[in-house]
């Protein structure tokens, strides 16, 4: 299938169109962040400005359209610049971990034998450790900070891709066209890059789309648990962790501090939802068995 056809179908599918629109919206926000929420200090743009020193969150008001969170951090500023953080986490973590997964899976399946055995047992070892716990421990060891969160997510996030890739390559490498190419004198590199990767990259691509959302959620979870970004760093997980003590509301109303949790919560939900929609749509488009027409 050619790319223009894939893109045309993406626009035709209503769900994927919604996903695309949401992602486009977030992308726009991320790009225009300096315009939408001009930073007070150009050197530390990711540092959320504080409205004062009150611990209690304050509702939306003039100058603070989303209100202020615990410690008087500006929610609006945090959300806008947090979009950049979300994209950064998503792209870097998914990009690097997919790269590792694809390499491990391809080499493992293509060469087989002892190499396969060694690589897959290493994969099993990494998989046997619960993801969130492993990421938490690793971030704790490396120290607070977004880069360390990303390192931890990459280190424990490539195994799914490796296994998926391995099964795909195992299937494709026995296809006759691969043998035909060998019979024409092609070397391993050409066969892997030209014939095998091109035929099995789509399922991995779909999985990568799905993981864009879940990686951002995991990063947020780490922030929420207090091992993520340093305090005051513009990150959606951080915004939710600010809301931790106020989720139950206070005094007479359970919804008294709704803005502290609903705004960042919705952003994270919409972000990962949109990637999932896109991933789903991709799968529908690329899997001929699920196609109803044509």
């Amino acid at each position: 299938m050619e790319w223009n056809e894939i893109i045309a179908r993406l626009f035709k599918n209503k769900l994927s169109l919604i996903g695309l629109i949401i992602i486009a919206f977030f992308l726009l926000v991320a790009i225009l962040a300096p315009v939408i929420a001009p930073p007070a200090d150009a050197d530390e743009v990711y540092q959320i400005p504080r409205a004062g020193w009150t611990m209690e969150p304050q509702p939306p008001r003039e100058g603070y359209p989303f209100g202020t969170s615990q410690g008087s951090y500006d929610i609006f500023y945090g959300m806008i610049w947090g979009t950049r953080t979300a994209f950064r986490i998503g792209f870097i973590v998914v990009g690097i971990s997919s790269f590792i997964g694809i390499s491990v899976g391809t080499i493992s399946a293509y060469y087989g034998g002892l190499i396969d055995e060694i690589f897959m047992r290493i994969t099993d070892v990494f998989m046997s450790i619960p993801f969130l716990v492993a990421a938490m421990v690793m971030t704790t060891i490396l120290g607070k900070g977004l880069n360390n969160v990303m390192i931890a997510l990459v280190v424990f996030g490539w195994m799914g891709t490796a296994r998926l890739m391995r099964s795909q390559v195992l299937e494709i490498k026995n296809e006759e066209f691969v043998q035909a190419s060998v019979a024409l004198g092609a070397n391993d590199g050409r066969i892997i890059f030209k014939h095998i990767l091109a035929n099995c990259i789509f399922p991995v691509l779909i999985q990568a789309f799905m993981r864009m959302g879940s990686m951002v959620i995991t990063a947020a979870a780490l922030s929420f648990l207090g091992v993520g970004a340093p305090e005051g760093y513009a990150d959606w997980g951080q915004m939710i962790s600010f809301a931790r003590d106020w989720i139950l509301g206070g005094g007479d109303s359970a919804l008294k501090y709704w803005y502290t949790v609903i705004i960042p919560g919705s952003a994270i939900m919409l972000f990962s939802l949109s990637w999932n929609l896109l991933g789903d749509a991709f799968r529908d488009i690329l899997d001929p068995k699920l196609q109803d027409n044509s």
Binding site: E176, A180, S181, V182, L184, A186, K194, N199
Partner: protein
């Protein structure tokens, strides 16, 4: 010129390719000898599992290793023993000097690239040409294999072509570097009969214009009759009869070949029931001792069950692996008698 000399192009001597599996050693090819002269078509015929495909893969150096291994024998191609070459050296020969086409045209082309891209790849692997030149040559090749509107077809994907067309593309790909030898592993099995005839005719034409040799692997005696000059009949990893095509059909001397001939319908005879060879090919894990055909052979004696016969030259260019080929005459006569009575 190479094909004018008397030297055979390929000479396979005592080739043994065994597979070392957990259940035991599978002797897929167990002592095969034959030669192919330049410009000649050798037909290799036999039932499934008789080792004909493994023989061709051994020549190409494509035997999966492990578990497969060429344990003995030589494959001399233009003076070099292919079994001694490294993978890197083999890659230079594959597609350039020796090419191969496969059984299943539906799956032997990569679905994600245009056919032009794939033919160009084959050309650029062995010739130092740029992309435009490779594409021009691809179009030329497509024209030679009889694909209409090659300029347009070159940009199409495999799914846009029919099975016969795809096999033509495969042929174009394998011939793009002027190979000396083309190995065709059941190239027409997956095609319907009219297309089969077209493809075989195309291969015959191209063989003449390119002066190359063809090794045609098939289980279809009709295909053998159509294209071969000489024929090697294989059974259980060995050549059992080796002769020119006319002798093979007129005067088969091995009981297995004779059995095969009786199992196909003939235009000039009406028979109620075609004869089948009783039993099936023995498992390569436990071949019978002695002659491997002894459990299905009408002429089998104790000698056959104990000692394996050698390939014996019974007349100029006709070799048979059988102790009792002379007695086959008797069976042939008996059969002719009964046919007459009916």
């Amino acid at each position: 010129m190479n094909f004018l000399s008397k030297e055979p192009l390929v000479q396979v001597k005592g080739l043994k390719t065994h597979f070392f599996t957990e259940e035991g050693v599978v002797k897929a090819v167990d002592g095969v000898d034959f030669e192919i002269n330049p410009g000649e078509t050798l037909g290799v015929v036999g039932e499934s599992g008789c080792g004909k495909s493994v023989t061709s893969l051994s020549i190409m150096g494509l035997v999966e290793s492990p578990p497969g291994k060429i344990v003995e024998g030589e494959i001399n191609f233009q003076g070099t023993d292919l079994t001694k070459l490294s993978q890197k050296e083999m890659r230079k020969i594959r597609g350039n000097d020796i090419s191969m086409i496969f059984q299943e045209p539906m799956t032997s082309l990569n679905p994600v690239y245009t056919i032009g891209n794939q033919i160009s790849e084959a050309i650029m692997l062995h010739k130092k040409v740029n992309k435009e030149e490779a594409k021009r040559q691809s179009i030329e090749m497509l024209e030679k294999v009889g694909i209409p509107l090659p300029e347009q077809r070159v940009n199409e994907y495999p799914h846009q072509l029919s099975g016969g067309m795809r096999q033509r593309v495969m042929i174009a790909m394998s011939l793009s570097c002027d190979p000396q030898l083309l190995i065709a592993d059941e190239p027409t099995t997956a095609l319907d009969v009219t297309i089969q005839a077209q493809i075989l005719e195309l291969m015959n034409d191209l063989k003449e214009s390119y002066g190359m040799a063809i090794m045609m692997i098939t289980h279809d005696l009709g295909v053998i009759a159509e294209v071969s000059d000489r024929v090697a009949v294989m059974y259980a990893g060995k050549v059992v009869e080796y002769t020119d095509v006319e002798t093979l059909f007129k005067d088969p001397e091995h009981p297995y070949t004779w059995g095969l001939m009786n199992s196909i319908p003939k235009l000039d005879q009406t028979v109620e029931r075609l004869e089948a060879i009783p039993g099936s090919v023995p498992s390569p894990l436990n071949f019978p001792s002695g002659c491997k055909y002894n459990n299905r052979c009408p002429l089998a004696t104790d000698k056959c069950r104990e000692i394996e016969p050698e390939l014996e030259t019974i007349s100029e260019g006709h070799q048979v692996r059988c102790w009792h080929y002379k007695e086959l005459e008797r069976l042939k006569n008996e059969r002719a008698e009964t046919a007459k009575i009916k």
